[in-house]
Symmetry: C2
Subunit: 874 residues, 2 copies
Amino acid sequence: MKKYVYSFNEGSKDMKSLLGGKGANLAEMTKIGLPVPFGFTVTTEACNKYYDDGCAIAEGIVAEIFEKLSDLENVTGKKFGDVGNPLLVSVRSGAVFSMPGMMDTILNLGLNDDTVKGLSALTGNDRFAHDSYRRFIQMFGDIVLEIPKSKFDAIFDAKKEKEGCSFDVDLTTEHLGVIIEEYKKLVRSETGADFPLDPKDQLMEAIKAVFRSWNNDRAILYRQLNNIPSNLGTAVNVQSMVFGNMGDTSGTGVAFTRSPVNGEAKIFGEFLVNAQGEDVVAGIRTPQPISEMAVAFPEVYKDFTRIAELLEKHYTDMQDMEFTVERNKLFMLQTRNGKRTAAAAVKVAVDMEKEGLIDKKTAVTRLEPAQIDQLLHPMFDAGGLAKAVKLAKGLPASPGAATGKIYFHAKDAVDAVANGEKVVLVRQETSPEDLAGMVAAEGILTARGGMTSHAAVVARGMGKCCVAGCSEIKVSEDKKIMEVGERKFAEGDYISLDGTTGTVYDGQIKTVTPELSGDFGTIMKWADEIRTLKVRTNADNPRDSAQAVEFGAEGIGLCRTEHMFFEEDRIPAIRRMILSDTEEERRKALATLLPYQKSDFKGIFEVMGDRPVTIRLLDPPLHEFLPHTDEEIKALAEKINVSADKLSKKVDELHEFNPMLGHRGCRLTVTYPEIAEMQAEAIIMAAIELKKEKNMDIVPEIMIPLVGIDKELSYVKKTVLETINKCFEREGVTVQYLIGTMIEVPRAALTADEIAKEAEFFSFGTNDLTQMTFGFSRDDTGNIIKEYRDKLVFEEDPFQTIDKAGVGKLLKMSVELGKAARPGIKLGICGEHGGDPQTIEFCHDIGLNYVSCSPFRVPIARLAAAQAAVKAGK
Amino acid sequence: MKKYVYSFNEGSKDMKSLLGGKGANLAEMTKIGLPVPFGFTVTTEACNKYYDDGCAIAEGIVAEIFEKLSDLENVTGKKFGDVGNPLLVSVRSGAVFSMPGMMDTILNLGLNDDTVKGLSALTGNDRFAHDSYRRFIQMFGDIVLEIPKSKFDAIFDAKKEKEGCSFDVDLTTEHLGVIIEEYKKLVRSETGADFPLDPKDQLMEAIKAVFRSWNNDRAILYRQLNNIPSNLGTAVNVQSMVFGNMGDTSGTGVAFTRSPVNGEAKIFGEFLVNAQGEDVVAGIRTPQPISEMAVAFPEVYKDFTRIAELLEKHYTDMQDMEFTVERNKLFMLQTRNGKRTAAAAVKVAVDMEKEGLIDKKTAVTRLEPAQIDQLLHPMFDAGGLAKAVKLAKGLPASPGAATGKIYFHAKDAVDAVANGEKVVLVRQETSPEDLAGMVAAEGILTARGGMTSHAAVVARGMGKCCVAGCSEIKVSEDKKIMEVGERKFAEGDYISLDGTTGTVYDGQIKTVTPELSGDFGTIMKWADEIRTLKVRTNADNPRDSAQAVEFGAEGIGLCRTEHMFFEEDRIPAIRRMILSDTEEERRKALATLLPYQKSDFKGIFEVMGDRPVTIRLLDPPLHEFLPHTDEEIKALAEKINVSADKLSKKVDELHEFNPMLGHRGCRLTVTYPEIAEMQAEAIIMAAIELKKEKNMDIVPEIMIPLVGIDKELSYVKKTVLETINKCFEREGVTVQYLIGTMIEVPRAALTADEIAKEAEFFSFGTNDLTQMTFGFSRDDTGNIIKEYRDKLVFEEDPFQTIDKAGVGKLLKMSVELGKAARPGIKLGICGEHGGDPQTIEFCHDIGLNYVSCSPFRVPIARLAAAQAAVKAGK
């Protein structure tokens, strides 16, 4: 028969999934002989069974609980409901992962009209006993019976007022007795039943309440935000009470074995004399630094530091502990691995490796990859942040902090920066024409667009702070007004953005730029030694490329050539090309672009040196280069000296109902081979010239986008090859090169064997692949995805973390088919997912050669790749 | 060693893929002892090798050819280049499938300045010999040497004029001699080389020309149009000449064993005395009916009818034969299965079964499924068609013929029809609001949109003639003008449409409505006995449902509920629902729709009786129900008494960049469960009321669209189930039902095992699945697909015939995963592909239970399903 309840001396730290984190660690501490008040744990499986049984605890489990309760009575020598020596317990939830959203604690369970007298006698403190009883009823009423806490407070406050008491402590035992009776009346009128006086009833009700709290709204939300599966269930810990509030020889505290703020190797914590644990957490009284405990309880403190050291060695990680001192005796109530800042995580990991506590492989697993972002971007000064007024919340599109004056137009932003101002660019949404403004600004705020909108993608690429899709603000670009609720902000007003949380603040907040400390360098070096997955970057210009190399990028996985076309000196030529009526005109326009593209590529190749560079041929539909409103069309027509009618007709002609699935990618090359010819020539000539001028051996990787059909690839490849061979012949020089494709259309993944016959490398374009596999347009489905997360359809956003079951299946399939058809094929990923740690682990597992991500995510990817290698090696 | 050349006595009719159709049949006739001039066939493999070897004939093959030539000389007793008894041959291409686009025939090969004298002596006809030589040089020069035919004509005509000859026959042997010399001069100046006088050179050049012609533009186009793989290659037949033009005891003809027009069991053909075969085909002289041959050549005719009968029995199919009579001796030059009209195909198949020549299974394979469409739709009167003037060509979107006055607006069309006019509705493109006009019109013509545009899909559903995407016409709906080149058509002008070919004609053409003959019924009955795949229909109303049942539909595979919303009495309610700000308002609007939907379903259920009906819940994005231009918005706002501003804001709010991948399908239900609740109630209440009123046992199949995630399906299913159970409780009656989903998102196919846990049936929505798998928006990629077909990227349009390698792989995967998770799962297809014969065969092979197609394709699908069963059974 399955066992659903474990006494603390039956478990261990390895039984977390069954006993929850708290229960497993209480068992572990019991096992290694630390002073832990005895108790037992009802397992997570009991919780799941509770739900399976229609929210009821099976009789067998009830029996087990009472059996363990009886053991507890034997160990403590106390008895549930015994007036002479009553057993009182705490009931606490304990999920596998710590979950703040859930029911936390009920203390003093077991008190009733009789046992309160026993407690009074035992402690010699009548008032303490009654106050404990009063608190218990209130806590139980609120949490278990779900009676609004305010109703208890109302009774309590009325009594205080009636008796003229200024403070709670002014209430006498008698007053408390009256309050207890009124509380019981309240319970009767609210629930239609008496307050349960039988401690066993109290216990069962409390356990059920913990189970219920697993599925309360806050807990569900927390799980969603933290990607915790909803079928884990929670355990319940029932532990005999110890009292830190039994006078000046008692106390309670929480402490870390090292500083969770900066990682310093010194006990860090707080302590309160004559208090219960909840008082520290609740912040009712201001606790003292832990160091003062050495003065107040020298012996106990010595004992505590010994235990702390022992626990850290035992768990080989920094511990976060709770303890209580009852009449000079130390009791450990909890230990767990302590949460820490990124800076602390780095220092602790490096120190522990030096101390010989952990090895390098373990050290690199001690940092949350996502967390180290903090170390790479400006942050708000903590003091300034504390006083800041929140205005609105949008999507945390690109991390970091920014503060500056609002400007609504790219040009205005550029001018303001030229005048020495700091600027936040605020737009309805950005388009490629805002690029200069985005470069100039400290940060970008948009009212529309999701995590993969133009603003978000470009900002992440630049490592620039961005809050996107902030629907709480209304932006009128014409009027240069931003509205938030009733408030209006004009051009020149200050705001501040936190791109890590998506928060928009009023006014200026000071920012600080963290430096990459030596320890950070050390741990990244270890990561590089451990990982097998290469890390490249997505970059389109020498500036971003250099930044990425500084962050450790080993190549460029995606250079988007269209970004180069949007710059002010090039866009007229691309527009002229689009407006051409004949191939000849088109070629003429393209010829003016060729030198620009070539020099772009030369710049990038020079920065990257012998690191590989993958260049994607033109991808977006041509209408992206044209304006769309009548006004803009008119303005452009005048500027480029074309009739507005002709321009407007071309815009209409290029209009598509679903541009995502339209005339773009390699389809453009099939229609206009001259575009690919120009691009291939620019790429190859850049390599040839660097060979001639600097004797550099560049091996460009030419990537053909949006391929879905093998013959489509061979058609385009033929054009590219012919161009390359023409260059070789003309220049009398050859260079090496690779030709490959993006796998971003589901059909390409399904027929990867056929495609691999033509492609020397695959790069998974998981943005588009996710869009098409799910049938989700990322420009349109921001709200749907939010709704799906709320309604439990998604545990994770598939545009952030690869969807293993669907998109991941296509990736795996492609890898297998591709390798079968071309054993040495190079495989990488260049979608936004390439910077997501979970996805990186998946990429490692299915055997990709590299991931590619925006420059500022390169360190994250290096670390995640190392962690994947460690995990896979286990 | 591989054999590349076969003498006629070495092959048989089963060697078609090697010898081509013509070669295999010549060998077969030789084998069964019929009088066939001897010769040999160079195989299709030799053709493929020619291409593999860089357009050269390998030495080994050349040697084989000359070996077989030498055999031919031995058999005929004649010799290549021998002045005394010269061997002359014809060289003909012979692909596996007959391909009119390819090089056809060179006659009299072997003639040169010497052998022409031999021919002259042998025939005793000097002029005949020189004219043959003149023709040979011209034919060879044109076809093999690729010299424009006009240049030969110019020489010939100049000579005629110079000599004052009115007719060719007026030219004397001497004149012809001069022409021959001038022809040779022309060859020299055009090619830089002398005309090849060595018959062996002539032969090798001619063979190469046949190989080359396999890849000429016309041949490529023909293969594309007829889905013939491009890697089959063509064979070449070299056959000793016989002459039908040796005077009045000679002649030539073509004949069918039965009438290819109506199938009558009587020899049908034409005959010319003293003529070469090409004269009949080229239509230079008007041939006599074959019956007159009985008079001219009674003995030969008797012989011929005997051979015709023998061939039909031998091939067990109607034969199309070519023959020549040389000096009273009959020679068979070709036999093949004869092409026939749909009507003839039906009669021949049924007759042959009655005659015991073939069995029923064979009979059903004798009809081209696509062809029988002709039997179901109006056609143009042949006489009228002959005189008709073509205006333009668009896509053959929905078959049939239509003639009527042009109207540009649905309302105008409806009014005109009410006045007794016949109408062709001409639009830029249609939208759901044009529905009434489409119903009223005889046919629909649109300037934009592909084979799966709104106009095309709806017209096919109605069985109404439609030409779509006719880019040669310009439509100005405002001005009520249609332009074709220089011509303008106004409202009220007559045009005619052929939806089977996509042709638009000027003026009126008489149409005839074919009747379904008894033989057609017979063969469809046989098809039904043989097939295992069920055939359902896509229908949204009782009218179409009844039509489909008449055509043999066994259920409804797809009832699109949104079509019902577009009708004039419902659209205000759906718009009110969309404009609602609260759930309550939405529910109110939906409540007014409920009775409409319920009565729609009752109507359909009543028509369908105990046949299954699959109803799809609302699928399109809500903005489809709202107008989009400022003008339309203003008009509607006034009509429904809402501020234009509010309406415009809602339209903006609902705007999507890629609506195909946006807020539609089951995603709507996740956001607005009340819509699915209303629809589920309407469906179930329709079934309950029919149970109560008529004791009918309806088992509705409720289909949830656009599912990509198992949890999405379970979320929506829960809403539907709760509604159903509420109805059951309220009414005190239950009915059976199924809940399933469309598999139309790639991810659904990839995770079909998970989805099958929630779905009782799958229906493959291959339109969307093809769009998403390829990343092709069918609204936008009409031109791309055309270009891809031109450039050999596509052999078939994947929106017409399922793409087996990609989309088909997903289907197979889904079937396997789905059956593994739920063994009894019902599987069907309801995309446009469901009516395509090749796709139907694929569906049979992967184990679907049914296909569903528009009513007018139901007979095609029944036949195709039977053919698939016959084919699989072989």
